[in-house]
Symmetry: C2
Subunit: 340 residues, 2 copies
DNA sequence: TTGTATGCGTTATCAC
DNA sequence: GTGATAACGCATACAA
C-alpha cells in the first residue's frame, strides 16, 4: 500500500509497461491485447487505483459529471428531485454531485465556481434569482446549463424546465375558493423568484374569476429559515386577522403553518383549510393529509437531464428549450377523523 | 465574451503580463505591486474568470474542497446534517459537495471514486457498510476521511463521530416500557449498519432491565425504500400481531409507521405509542408530535469537520479520533388533543 | 499491439 | 515585482 494516490505511473511500473498502455487498457480501447488488458486491470484493482478525473478532464475536456445546484437540501422536495436527477443521469452514464446555496446569492456564486472549477460537463440549477449575474458566469465560461423549477423571463437565452406555476397558483386558490373560503392567506416565497411571481398571478386570477378582490395583507413572503412561516401565521392569529384558507408556496411551509395553527389551538380542517405545493406526500408517507399541487418532480428531473445532455453533446446547436410541465390539484382529505 | 472557459492565459493576454503574475495576483501573494494586483482583479472579474481547481489541485495537491457522502439525501436528517457540515466547513474556508449512495454498495464505490478523482482534500462519509472495502479505497489512496453516524468496530484505524446509539436504543425502549408498553415493535435498519446493531443492543438491555424477554417477531428490518415500513406495519396489524409500542430507527420511518396505523384506523396515542430517532422535529416544524432520540446532528457535523480538517492539515500525526456524542430522549406529547 | 512526445491550466521554483 | 520554466496525471496523435 502506497498511502498516497495511485497513479497510472504506479501501475505502469508494476506492470513493466508504459503509462499510455495502462491508460488505454483501463479505458477499454480496442488496440490492446486482451491478455495485457486483463493483467493491467487486475493490477489496477489490486492497487486500488482510482482515476484522476481532474487530470483526465484537463486533457480530454470532459468528465461525465454534472453538478446539481439546489437552494435547500433540507427540503425533501429537493432531496426527491436530486434522487430523480441522479437516476436519469446514471442511465446515461453520468455522475452527479450536489451543491447547496441556502437561497443565498454569494453561496450560489461559490457553488457555480466550484462546479465550473471541477470541470463538470454541465450544470442543473435552481437559481436563487437575486439577479441573472451568476447565470452569466456559466454563460461566459461556455458551460451548458439548464434552469430547474425557476426561469428568468427577461433572459430568453436561458433554457429551463419548470412546472406550470401560474396554473398551479390558480388551481390552489380555486381549490380553496370552491370550498367557500374567501380570505386565503398566501405564504409565498420572495417575489424575486419566478415561481413565486407566477403562482401569485394564478392566485390573483382565481380571485378575479370568483369576483373577489384580494387583501394585500394576506400575502406574506416566507424566507428559507425554519420558523419564518410559523411566526407569520402566529402573528396573523394573534392579531385576529381574518382568514380561513392557507395556500403555501411549498409543502414544508404548509407543514409549518399547520404546526403554528395547532400551537394556537386552531382546528384543521374545521377552522382552516390548507393547500401546499410540490405534492411531496406522494413520495413520502406522512401521518396527516395535505392537499397539494403536483409539480411532477420526476418528469421535471428527467427532462432537465435529457436537455442538459443534449446541450453537452451538441454544443453548437442553437436550439432553445423551454419546457413547462403541467400541474394538478391533489386533494387529500382527513381519513379517520384526523385533521387535514 | 469568449464562450469558452476563461483561463489565466486569457487574462495575461489582456493585461500584457505573464500567466505567473496573474496567478500570484489573484491568490493575493505579497510580492505583487498593489496597483498591478488591482488591475488584474478588475480584468478577471470583467472576463468572468473562474479558477480551474482541477488544474490547480493537480499541481498544488489541494483543493480546499471536501466531499460529503450520504446514504439518503431525501431524508431530512441528512439534509440538516449537510447544512450543518457546510456551515462549519465554510468557516474554515472549505467548500463541500454532496454525493448520494441510496444505501447501495456500488453507488457508494462510485461516490468515493468521484470524490477522490476530483481531488478533494478529504471525505466525510456515512457508510452503507456492506463491507469495509470501499473505505479501504480511501485508505489506499491516502485520502483523509471521517465516518459520520456509523462506525466499523473491526477497523480500529477508521476515525468516526457517532452518537451514543446503544444508549439511544436503551432510552427509546425504556421510554416506552415506562409507559407500560411491553410489546415494542422495533422498525430497525438492516443489521449490517453499526448504529442499527447498537440501538438493538440498547433496546435489548432496556428489556432485560425490566425483566422482559423480547419476541424476535417484533424486530423488523426496514430498507431505504419508501413504503417498506408501511408494508411491515400493515402486515403486523392485518395479522393481529400484538404490539402497542413502536421504536423506529429514524423519524422518517416513524412517520411512515404512524401513517400506516392511521390508514388502518388505529388511534395514536390511545392505542399505540411511538418514538423515533434523530429528533428532526427540533429542526423543522411538523404538525404532529413525535417523541424522538436526539442525536445532536449539529454537534456531530461540527466535530466531524474539525477532525477531518485536523487530519488534512497534519497527515503524519497518528492520532486516532473516536467520538461518541451523548443521546437523550425528547418527549413530545399530543398538545391539543391531536395524536402523538 | 505498444511506446514516445506533447499539452491541458495551474502553481512552485528560481532567475532577473 | 515580474517572467521563464518545469511539473502535476492523464489522454491524444503519431511513430515504431
Amino acid at each position: 500500500m502506497l498511502g498516497r494516490k495511485v497513479t497510472l505511473k504506479d501501475i505502469a511500473n508494476r506492470a513493466g509497461l508504459s503509462v499510455n498502455t495502462i491508460s488505454r487498457a483501463l479505458k477499454d480501447k480496442d488496440d490492446i491485447a486482451p491478455a495485457t488488458r486483463q493483467a493491467i486491470k487486475t493490477i489496477a484493482k489490486e492497487m486500488g487505483y482510482v482515476g484522476n478525473s481532474a487530470a483526465g478532464s484537463l486533457r480530454s475536456g470532459h468528465s461525465r459529471t454534472i453538478a446539481v445546484i439546489v437552494s435547500d437540501v433540507a427540503n425533501p422536495h429537493f432531496g426527491i428531485l436530486v434522487k430523480d436527477i441522479e437516476n436519469t443521469a446514471r442511465k446515461h452514464n453520468y455522475t452527479i454531485f450536489v451543491i447547496n446555496t441556502e437561497e443565498n446569492n454569494e453561496l450560489e456564486e461559490r457553488a457555480i465556481q466550484i462546479a465550473i472549477s471541477k470541470n463538470v460537463d454541465g450544470i442543473l440549477i435552481c437559481p436563487a434569482q437575486y439577479s441573472a449575474e451568476n447565470m452569466h458566469l456559466m454563460k461566459r465560461n461556455g458551460i451548458p446549463f439548464v434552469l430547474v423549477g425557476r426561469r428568468f423571463v427577461d433572459e430568453p437565452a436561458f433554457d429551463y424546465v419548470i412546472c406550470d406555476d401560474e396554473k398551479g397558483g390558480y388551481l390552489a386558490a380555486k381549490h380553496l375558493l370552491d370550498q367557500g373560503h374567501t380570505r386565503i392567506l398566501f405564504l409565498n416565497a420572495p417575489q424575486r423568484i419566478s415561481s413565486a411571481q407566477e403562482r401569485y398571478r394564478g392566485y390573483m386570477r382565481a380571485h378575479e374569476e370568483a369576483g373577489l378582490s384580494v387583501d394585500p395583507a394576506l400575502t406574506k413572503e416566507i424566507g428559507i429559515r425554519t420558523g419564518d412561516a410559523k411566526e407569520k401565521v402566529e402573528t396573523m392569529v394573534e392579531r385576529s386577522e381574518p382568514f380561513t384558507g392557507i395556500f403555501a408556496f411549498n409543502d414544508v411551509i404548509a407543514w409549518e403553518a399547520m404546526y403554528a395553527l395547532q400551537l394556537r389551538g386552531c382546528k384543521i380542517p374545521e377552522e382552516y383549510a390548507i393547500i401546499g405545493f410540490d405534492n411531496i406526500h406522494s413520495r413520502m408517507f406522512v401521518p396527516f393529509p395535505l392537499s397539494s399541487i403536483s409539480s411532477s418532480q420526476g418528469e421535471m428531473a428527467r427532462r432537465a437531464v435529457e436537455i442538459l445532455l443534449h446541450k453537452i453533446n451538441r454544443p453548437d446547436e442553437e436550439h432553445s428549450f423551454k419546457e413547462v410541465i403541467d400541474t394538478a390539484v391533489i386533494s387529500r382529505a382527513a381519513a379517520n377523523g384526523a385533521h387535514g
